[in-house]
Amino acid sequence: MGAIVSEAREGAIVTKRQAGRPPEAFLPLPPATFHILLALADGELHGYAIMKGVAARSEGSVRLGPGTLYGSLKRLLEAGLVEEGAERADPERGDERRRYYRMTPLGLSVVRAEARRLDALVRAARRKKLIGERPA
């Protein structure tokens, strides 16, 4: 029963365990999460700016809806990879106050580790001549 129960508890206690986790323990990152962290590498952003940044960087191939974006941000906040900044209005988007998010040092380590992992995969694909030396 202990194993069953510990599996059931996993979701509840996973965030408490993550405090001392090395960056590699978070890998591989789900694509949406990686894109969000990449967007936050530019600095503090609100939800809509993250969404626009992801769409622009992926040339429209990744479109995060509000549910996917805030679901991912919730997990990133719980895991300590992202933190909330001060709530304020975006002058370009009206008077409504918006929550801003920024990457933590742990988040930066994780996104770097993921980028290195992906880079190693791409290099392996190049060695196998599956893709060219330079991006098309």
């Binding site: 029963m1 202990g2 194993a3 069953i4 129960v5 599996e7 059931a8 508890r9 996993e10 979701g11 509840a12 996973v14 965030t15 993550q18 986790r21 323990a25 978070f26 990152l29 789900p30 949406a32 999460t33 939800g47 809509y48 969404m51 479109r63 995060l64 809806g65 509000p66 549910g67 996917t68 974006l69 805030y70 679901g71 991912s72 941000l73 919730k74 997990r75 990133l76 895991a79 990879l81 988007r93 409504e96 918006r98 929550r99």
Partner: protein, 194 residues
């Protein structure tokens, strides 16, 4: 009804705690999307519905998992009761098969009938073993025993089509329900699958 009203209704698909925390931000983001897209197109609403259908169930499961110790204790008690019921039904299945065998052996014995009774006995023994494994906190052997029990029970049913509906429900439904219970609360990725 405006697009925002429709989205407000769709937000009900998300867990209440998540809505309380992020509902306002999600509405703001949706409003931004409405400003930059044509809300009268099917494509726009297809994307909105896809986003809700993709994210809401995952967050519901997360919320259920993070229900904490109370949920866990409930699961533990339910699994313990199920395990005891499984052991009892395993014993009952063995006794039932023996009684069937004694009753059936008075007339001419059909080979398929004999095989069906033997399979039912093995299925019941496996069910008993699965119940014991759950009680002993060994989920992996329990899963294997339950799966084997279902296979044997289906084989017995195919060989002996006159099996009672109750026996079929118990012999098939119980192991399948337990298998779902044992497989469902899987270890979650720390950052989900989105």
């Amino acid at each position: 009804m405006s697009a925002e009203d429709i989205y407000r209704l769709l937000l009900r698909a998300y867990p209440p705690d998540f809505r309380a925390e992020y509902g306002r931000e999600m509405m703001l983001l949706f409003r931004d999307q409405c400003r930059e897209s044509d809300v009268r197109t099917v494509g726009f609403w297809a994307r909105v519905l896809y986003d809700v259908a993709r994210s809401a169930p995952v967050l519901r499961v997360d919320a259920w998992h993070s229900g904490g110790i109370e949920n866990t204790r409930t699961v533990e008690v339910i699994m313990k009761l199920d395990a005891m019921l499984t052991v009892l039904l395993g014993v009952f299945g063995i006794v039932n098969a023996v009684v069937e065998w004694v009753a059936g052996s008075k007339g001419a014995i059909d080979g398929r009938y004999v095989l069906a009774v033997v399979l039912a006995v093995f299925a019941s023994v496996l069910l008993l073993g699965a119940g014991a494994a759950i009680l002993l906190r060994r989920p992996q052997p329990a899963r294997v025993a339950l799966l084997a029990s279902v296979v044997l029970f289906v084989a017995a049913r195919l060989l002996f089509p006159w099996m009672s509906i109750f026996s079929q429900l118990v012999g098939f439904g119980l192991p399948v329900a337990l298998l779902i219970a044992l497989y469902w609360p899987r270890k979650a990725s720390p950052l989900g699958a989105a």
